[in-house]
């Protein structure tokens, strides 16, 4: 029983961390209609930007997160406008392939300057909190709180601001949105900034738990995709639900299978979901 409860808690915590980049990915997918593989490098760039702010400049973690958001978002917009936006007319698959190439370029720029070494954030060490037999790390709890606040801010933005409403309008029906005078190019830029920025913040939150290297983003890419597909590709609330479901599924499966197969759990979960309910938990039609 304790084992299950502990797995459930751990699952919710890792799920909440995956949810942040998954929301970023889904926002870009919802508006621009292509799966952006470059989010892996945006997550890595965010993680390194926060590392630089935290270790080199000595800033605490919250300003470091803001810097990570701004830098990852800016890199995302510049990369999108220079390497991807002109390919949109050639179909989603071509943009997706270009985003894989873009990811390779950005990941290796990081590798060129920082090398393959693992780096850790400068954080105070804290003892795990115990509740009876259950253990919770204060660092994880802080990351969880940050993830919740960031996602609440994102949902408030989408719901209450003009830009947020315009983004949802474009996602829902681009032609109708244009008729209403919404400029799709501007919405695209704002969306990519937000999406890449969130992904960058997600990279930091995931790195806080362990360490970072140029492959930090690539390692979470499959989990992010799995979360987005489980929740329903293109649905932002779906990405959150999918990420939490994935986190719990991973932790429960790890009771039975070795930890090295964590990524495989997401893959199997996608296959099962696509076989029985392709639209995902909260998604639109998938055919």
């Amino acid at each position: 029983m304790t084992l299950l409860l502990q797995a459930l808690i751990n699952g919710l915590m890792t799920g909440a961390l995956i949810a942040v980049p998954a929301v970023g990915f889904s926002a870009i997918f919802a508006v621009l209609r292509y799966p952006n593989f470059a989010i892996a490098s945006y997550a890595t760039i965010g993680a390194f930007a926060a590392w630089w702010a935290n270790v080199v400049l000595g800033l605490p973690i919250i300003p470091a997160l803001v810097i990570a958001f701004a830098i990852a978002g800016t890199v995302g917009v510049v990369a999108e406008e220079s390497a991807l936006s002109r390919l949109r007319g050639n179909g989603a698959l071509i943009v997706a392939i270009a985003s894989i190439a873009l990811n390779l370029v950005l990941e290796n720029i990081i590798r060129f300057f920082f090398g393959n070494d693992m780096r850790g954030y400068d954080l105070p060490l804290m003892r795990d909190m115990r509740f009876g037999d259950l253990r919770i790390g204060p660092q994880q709890l802080q990351s969880l709180a940050l993830a919740v606040v960031i996602m609440a801010a994102m949902f408030a933005f989408l719901r209450y601001t003009r830009f947020g409403k315009a983004m949802r309008a474009v996602a829902d029906n681009p032609d109708l949105a244009r008729l209403k005078g919404i400029d799709p190019a501007r919405i695209a830029i704002v969306t990519v900034f937000l999406g890449a920025g969130l992904t960058g913040v997600g990279g930091v939150l995931i790195g806080l738990d362990t360490s970072i290297d140029p492959l930090t983003g690539y390692r979470v890419l499959l989990s992010v995709f799995a979360a987005a597909v489980l929740g329903g590709l293109g649905s932002i609330p779906g990405a959150v639900v999918g990420a939490l479901a994935l986190g719990i599924a991973e932790e429960l499966a790890l009771i039975a299978v070795p930890a090295t197969y964590r990524t495989a759990v997401g893959f199997i979960a996608i296959l099962i979901m696509l076989t029985f309910r392709p639209r995902g938990i909260l998604g639109e039609r998938a055919v």
Binding site: L102, N108, F112, F225, L271, L274
Partner: protein, 304 residues
Amino acid sequence: MVSYVIFTLTLCGIYALLALSLNLIWGGVGLVNLGLAGFFAVGAYASALATGAGAPVLIGWTAALAVGAVVGLVVTFATLRLRDDYLAIVTLGFAEVIRLVALNERWLTKGSDGISGIKAPLKAELGLMGFNLFYLGLVTLIVAGIWLLLRRLDGSPYGRAMKAIREDQQLAAFAGKTVLRFKLQAFALSAAIAALAGALYAHFQSYVSPDHFQPLITIYIFLAVTAGGVGRPSGAVVGAYLVVIFLEATRFATEWVPGLQPVQVAALREILVGLALILVLHLRPQGLLPECIPRAPKPVPSKA
């Protein structure tokens, strides 16, 4: 130097097979397989294990073809009915899972140590140089054979139906084409070719390990097919040779840049590969040898 050229040309042939595999599915029915490296690995391990258990090399290669096709069907069965983006995501995940299995199931794959001592056909009889030349000839012959076959396929009614599906699924379905069946068959055949490439690679190197099947290979093959021309088997083959030459050229070019660490040299080469793919997509998306789409036949004047 001669053995370097022979080695590179053999690698060209193996990449050409992978490019033909990708072109069949991408240029054919318009789907992408981001798990090419995974199918490549499946074929390599299937043949290595089969011949390791005592089977002759030809049986090993046949096993690779069969296992590749079956795995391809199992993985994509649920996904082929859905939008194309799902297939992209699932195949990417597949390649990663294959790598994890190869790394962790030590009883089967010897983990990161890899399988060594894979049978090299006729190596004892021909000597090292003779074997390398023989193998280069064999691989080139297989590439030529599959290239011819796929060219024939492109011109056949089957190939035309595939391209109709690529252009407009609904219209093809309306014209009575069984879209899902075509996709399944094309994917299975494409996966089998990639697996055969893996088997050829394994017996050439006599050694396979999970490190040989990095996702990077998939990107190389995408570069090959886009640079050569999507939808044309000749383009895929030419593209594969060009990509290997390009990769080797970046190796020499980056060595000339002074004062770089080895990790920076490696990073620089990968940056060049990524930039090349982005540039080709922007500047010449139809590739060097664009697909030739035959003119529709003139309507036969009806006799009054």
